[in-house]
Symmetry: C2
Amino acid sequence: MHSLTVELGERSYPIFIGNNILSDINLSEYIVGRQVLIVSNETIAPLYMAKLDMLLTDFCVDHIILPDGEQYKNLEQVNTIFDQLLTCKHNRTTTLIALGGGVVGDMTGFAAACYQRGVNFIQIPTTILAQVDSSVGGKTGVNHPLGKNMIGAFYQPNLVIADIEYFQSLPQRQVAAGIAEIIKYGFIYDADFFVWLEQNISALMAKDAQALSYAVYRSCQIKAEVVAKDEKEMGIRAWLNFGHTFGHAIETHQGYGSWLHGEAVATGMMMAVDLSCRLGWIEPALLQRAKDLLEAAQLPICAPEDMTVDDFLTLMSVDKKVLDGSIRLVLLKELGQATVTADFDRALLHETLSLGKQLAQL
Amino acid sequence: MHSLTVELGERSYPIFIGNNILSDINLSEYIVGRQVLIVSNETIAPLYMAKLDMLLTDFCVDHIILPDGEQYKNLEQVNTIFDQLLTCKHNRTTTLIALGGGVVGDMTGFAAACYQRGVNFIQIPTTILAQVDSSVGGKTGVNHPLGKNMIGAFYQPNLVIADIEYFQSLPQRQVAAGIAEIIKYGFIYDADFFVWLEQNISALMAKDAQALSYAVYRSCQIKAEVVAKDEKEMGIRAWLNFGHTFGHAIETHQGYGSWLHGEAVATGMMMAVDLSCRLGWIEPALLQRAKDLLEAAQLPICAPEDMTVDDFLTLMSVDKKVLDGSIRLVLLKELGQATVTADFDRALLHETLSLGKQLAQL
């Protein structure tokens, strides 16, 4: 079992990573009161809820099962969590446990942040994406019809358990989407890890437990390092949004739940690499390596055909990375080093945004 | 003009208090970006919005006018604030200004806490209650059908302006309700201030500007002291809930908006004093002084006739002061000193809860 600590002063918390580790962890160490609400979704609950329940026989455990999918990540669903907490008379010493993917984690974390102005919160992410991204760093929240993740809070869990076992039931499309976020860490922070990913992409896609454990561990480690340096996203943490400004525009345009988040990020990363290349900051060879790796992970690298440059610009201007009207993007200075900038030629951005045929020139 | 600073490290903020002071304060010092959203309600906006707008001509100002009343303090209304922010493309450097009473302040603060995971926030409370209670200390949030203030966040404003001028348009019933919270500070923290209130209650009820300025200033000072000692309400801050556990039960039972918050708190304080007296912690003479002062402020001191002991116990058990099933109450050890305890004779609580005839024995 790998483990690491996200260093945030009095809000520091541990992450445990490994295959079939849930029963090895003493959950009661991390639960303050007697009440627990497990939040899960209709896909995950039938598979894994009973096992978790068995580890919590010393507590008063209630449950809520949410519908599965990004399109349900909204205030109405969070409100059903509040309904359940209040109906079951949970007080402010209660602990919320998120058992599910990023959507369950984001909504449960936000509910924990807001219920009685903040209660305890444990994350048990069941997807690759949630383990390497949304479970680390305290970003919680929901979507709004006019923009993704526009409503939320910074709120840290007491504990994160990243169990590789859950990936066995994960459809291949979700495995690929999760690997997109893992690849991101190579791009922005660690050229050696990018090379490791190029060498191990087949093992990862085949759900090899050892390869996945290491990839999740290294990803969490990088994210934890970045978040510890910059909890409230004033500087380096913005690197984690690499590919996301483009990606969010795609998700919003296509309607939440149509593209998986990781798929949109993969295409977004390809666009960010493409623009970095057009700006002359990186070599065309890296553009090719990016394309090869993302394709080996069976990820989309071209924006939807029905999205125009104007669609992108409109949707990107409501993205959180926009400061006073100018679009700020996370781009690459070199492999393993990102940069946040609004200082680029808009004409080159337009070329990148009309992606399909441009990338074909590779 | 009085002023004080709420000391909370890097989240410290100033409160300015006085009569007709708005134009004396350089608002632009406290606004970070170019965008401002003023949140107000349909009662206050026609009276005071134009004057505030005139002080903000250097900024891009948008507005949202909410319906007036505690019954609208809910997630749906907060969502209309998000709608407006997103429709007007406000980014994360925006500043929300709450111009209104406690309901506007609580909802605007919660919206500021959650919009893009936290944006700047200025409070301009227009009621006595909001100036001495909900504008100080960072408690924001909304009600849920199953409980009051159950959803929210601790979130500090950048600035609070408490202008006495707004009280001129305040109905007498709201003046009285605000004075209930001022009296609370005497009960729990400052016996001398309680005596001052006994001597000045007529001037306060007559909206004397000098008396009101001092009463608001001293109340904010006490609350700021308490909050600075205990931001997250683990200890002494709970004293501020004096009268509120009973009061919230009354508000919930009667339906939000039927009793004013301050009215319910007045009756709740009377019940807390009554129970403290039954427990032998304070003299019956103080019970009489409490009754006299609250009656001089034209406040109700008896619970609604249609509320049974069981109604109270049921509604109090979902209150945030309940830890693991036992009801914790804020009671008085002496005038000017409160205590939080679950250690009291339940039979005496039952006597207090069947209030009407008991108090008549005075």
